[in-house]
Subunit: 328 residues, 4 copies
Amino acid sequence: MAWTDHSFMARNAVAKGKAGQHHTLTEEEQGEYHYVYGPYATPVLTIAPGDVVAVETLDAFGGAIKTEDDLPSKVLKFPYVNPQNGPIAVTGAQKGDVLAVHIHAVLPRGPQPAGTTALIPGFGALVADPNLFLNPHITERVKKMEVTPEGGVKFSDRITLPYEPFVGTMGVSPQLEAVSSLQPDYWGGNMDCPDVAPGAIIYFPVQRDEAHFFIGDCHGRQGDGELCGVAVEIAATVTVQIDLIKSWSIPGVRIETEDFIMSLGSARPMEDAARMAYRDLVRWLVEDYGFEESEAYFLATQAGKMRVGNMVDPKYTMGASMLKSYIS
Amino acid sequence: MAWTDHSFMARNAVAKGKAGQHHTLTEEEQGEYHYVYGPYATPVLTIAPGDVVAVETLDAFGGAIKTEDDLPSKVLKFPYVNPQNGPIAVTGAQKGDVLAVHIHAVLPRGPQPAGTTALIPGFGALVADPNLFLNPHITERVKKMEVTPEGGVKFSDRITLPYEPFVGTMGVSPQLEAVSSLQPDYWGGNMDCPDVAPGAIIYFPVQRDEAHFFIGDCHGRQGDGELCGVAVEIAATVTVQIDLIKSWSIPGVRIETEDFIMSLGSARPMEDAARMAYRDLVRWLVEDYGFEESEAYFLATQAGKMRVGNMVDPKYTMGASMLKSYIS
Amino acid sequence: MAWTDHSFMARNAVAKGKAGQHHTLTEEEQGEYHYVYGPYATPVLTIAPGDVVAVETLDAFGGAIKTEDDLPSKVLKFPYVNPQNGPIAVTGAQKGDVLAVHIHAVLPRGPQPAGTTALIPGFGALVADPNLFLNPHITERVKKMEVTPEGGVKFSDRITLPYEPFVGTMGVSPQLEAVSSLQPDYWGGNMDCPDVAPGAIIYFPVQRDEAHFFIGDCHGRQGDGELCGVAVEIAATVTVQIDLIKSWSIPGVRIETEDFIMSLGSARPMEDAARMAYRDLVRWLVEDYGFEESEAYFLATQAGKMRVGNMVDPKYTMGASMLKSYIS
Amino acid sequence: MAWTDHSFMARNAVAKGKAGQHHTLTEEEQGEYHYVYGPYATPVLTIAPGDVVAVETLDAFGGAIKTEDDLPSKVLKFPYVNPQNGPIAVTGAQKGDVLAVHIHAVLPRGPQPAGTTALIPGFGALVADPNLFLNPHITERVKKMEVTPEGGVKFSDRITLPYEPFVGTMGVSPQLEAVSSLQPDYWGGNMDCPDVAPGAIIYFPVQRDEAHFFIGDCHGRQGDGELCGVAVEIAATVTVQIDLIKSWSIPGVRIETEDFIMSLGSARPMEDAARMAYRDLVRWLVEDYGFEESEAYFLATQAGKMRVGNMVDPKYTMGASMLKSYIS
């Protein structure tokens, strides 16, 4: 029996976590990609809860960086970066519900070297934003890397890193806002959190009818914080099973895996993202695990783990988690 | 052969990482404990590089919280909290050197329940500071827990957590300043970082003649961030081997273990602590591992790990690390 | 001769700062109000550069708080707060241009007491956000005040404050995003900066064809920071003259008055908003006043003034200014 | 009758705000200057409450920058910057009391050009800290300026700025800590707030017996925030009258002038400094002006003013003020 059979998805969702009909969302079927998470785009696909969709995502640069000579300042056209597939409408979803997204697989697409990272002028956690500081830029640079599930990420002749893929950007549409796909928030978006990975179930609070799910920006791997602002960016085929939990009120994104539960917070400064994540973890422990609030606060103090998702996007993303073995 | 034989301590320190003379620093030998890290206290012990000291530390409350009825607001007398042993003078140490502290063991002392955590009014990451906010306090509370190396931390009838001890507060004296033992900074202090644990070597930048080493505030365990501000506080016997690396210029605290190297940053807001940690990790990769700077920045982006030490102290502490397997 | 004859608007705009045709935008003409600044709404009015529009704005609560018994938690329906008039299309405006908005007057509308302030649960600079903290709320409260241009703001029996009105929320549409009217950013929005007042000219960087100007949320007065999050909120008739400066590249909102020039920055944490404001002021001094950069930096250091606009909105707004008498 | 006759100092202090004996504290009498605010230095002068002291302060560089060729990176020796006079012991002062310091005058000393500002590598609000960022430095630079009370500050051939002097660093010793004179905090220190000016009374919460007052770092003038980190630094003769208010519990520094009362907050990030300042202003309005708390919060919202003192020091300093005309 799989751990997912005991997941919140299996226990509470409309399709009980059972996989339904299979769909594809190829580049061709997608047509125009999107650069905001919002309610103003027409769905490209409508599915029932439980359905599975194999999505062809572009990399965060829309494929514009083909070689190490394609400098970002030359080939990128802001705000047209981080293209997103969708929106995918989910029948029956309403504000106050939760979309449960079980990630089956993330596989790289396209010719090798399939992975791209880059130093983009004025962008990244260790460089000065030119709208805030007077310093000269560091040198712009692109690095292409071979990426395969079997061979890993060929970082350099000297270093090969494991292929540990995840989805950088994923979520549901806000109710009235249409927000850049570069930004994370309570509805998901550009969280750049390595725990949004194959095997995990991600829970998003639905904000509008039929949820309008977006997805894109896959990474072959990434360190904590996505330091320079650009992970191992890949075009990918992502397979997700999307279920619907009616009437579950959650203030932001949550993750469930075989081993842990995690609450995400996206905010600035970073301590507010960390507080938001832990605050919701305490709430979750109280609501679904029977803890008295101060006891949950104590447990998070002694046994909580914190993931730094990104420290580069318009909001920083932190994830506070608790091992299921402590609370089940 | 032990990993420590290849450590920076073994390769570069005066005593080559070999254990020298053994000393004790019992409660009685300590006499008065200290509440600031500074150059104005007389050394209680002078040792040679390589010497080993078994120190009897008090818990962060100086033992004042004996039962769950001893509320912090009644029994604590600020600023007399977080008592520290020391200073221990290390012969030959000068500004510009590094103290290498190899932690051999952290063992709980005193009668059970040996562990204490608490909700202190107005203190903690999820409570409003009354000097900033108007909200009423949450309820004050103390929780005592049995703590043994074999049996772990008895958090509750339902939950036992592993005994994963570490030293919450440790470091060297600043040059001119005398800073509260509640604060972490580039010289160490109250970092509350769980990686400052048995087996690790901690490197501190010496600021004055003979370094003047302080230590205290052991924890039976702690989650990332020390959320409520109080870990599993224990009185302990800590055994440390203290060596000296001459003329190693490091801007802050670094950690080395069998598996990884880590740079610590302490600052507010939290993103500055994270930047400081990663900035120094990049510097370390360049200086001691032969990386070109942008390559080190890329590697940290794709493979760096970030520990949230504390998110409650006067400065927050973050640790950026890199697996040795990637860089050796 | 008026100071405006020497303004950037008079010197560089299409209509040279001369008032053109007069329009009204009454509540009835507006019809549906808007809750996001974005490109997806159909213009309610199209004007030529230089035209003057008298706009009937609602208060930030859409008039829902009529008495001190109308508690926000009962009568407000998020996200339907801070209703905005517009969008007003300005012919000829394109991305890369600047909209110059000269505020002629802000006059209160409706029955007395026309002014409203309130303590909204979990909102305000001195209260703990329940998504970050565990503390109980402070008591919810509404305060109604008589507001007239002649008589001022009747704060209490004991205190009458001057009528110093301004526009809390005003700006142009982003290019692709549709952002809550509660948020300020580089395009304007909910800046809550008291310098956006009658007599001033506000410069906005146009992001899309015809600019799409929005306006609302007038205040009878406000202290620095809009501390509790709610100023003296009034329904108003605002008269603005809207001109167009072609091909002026500015990164954010700027203000010009008879006495000073000011650059605004909106960001979190607050120091980033302050840096953004001062960084742009330095840029402005270099580009339009002939200063060498380090000289401009020195002058801002010795003679710059900083306004705290808001410290409560999703981004904080700061304004860095320089007296014209020092630089002309 | 002077406004000071109604001040908190006149009403509550031991000497009732009357000037007592006159003292000098010349460079020679001072001898060694101090670089930390702490309890470990021997008083250089002991006075009675009400006594007046004329102090010869050095500039923040200890006079080491004599010409525009004396670059900071060459002539400064950290941590020996920002030298302070004192400590001055005040008889009868105890923890829980308040030192009331009435500033009579700040006059420049030494040969012209008496004023110095500088761009110090890696320091300043608009430059990237090299412990956080990878960017290259901006160019180091010194600017010397003639400064006289009558002629003002000769910023350049083109610009003369008013002489508006104040004391950059002033305060009392902490209880146990000895903190760099570069840092501001609840006991005062390097607040760099232009309201600490001749005519004002500054209130400091005493932390130890006889208070131990320090002073230094005078500025010929400064803009809000001390942007590049260096104001118009001058050596000066400062005359202060120091009185003592017994048993007045205040959490941080407060200022009183003829026109307003102000609470200061020093913290990072900046919003926490702003909250601390406004939080204490609300407290003050409640304790000494008879306001109910929510009414004080409303009044601060509608009529409070916020000064940005510094945005460059280890803690940022903000001042929240209220006009006396509104509350008396």
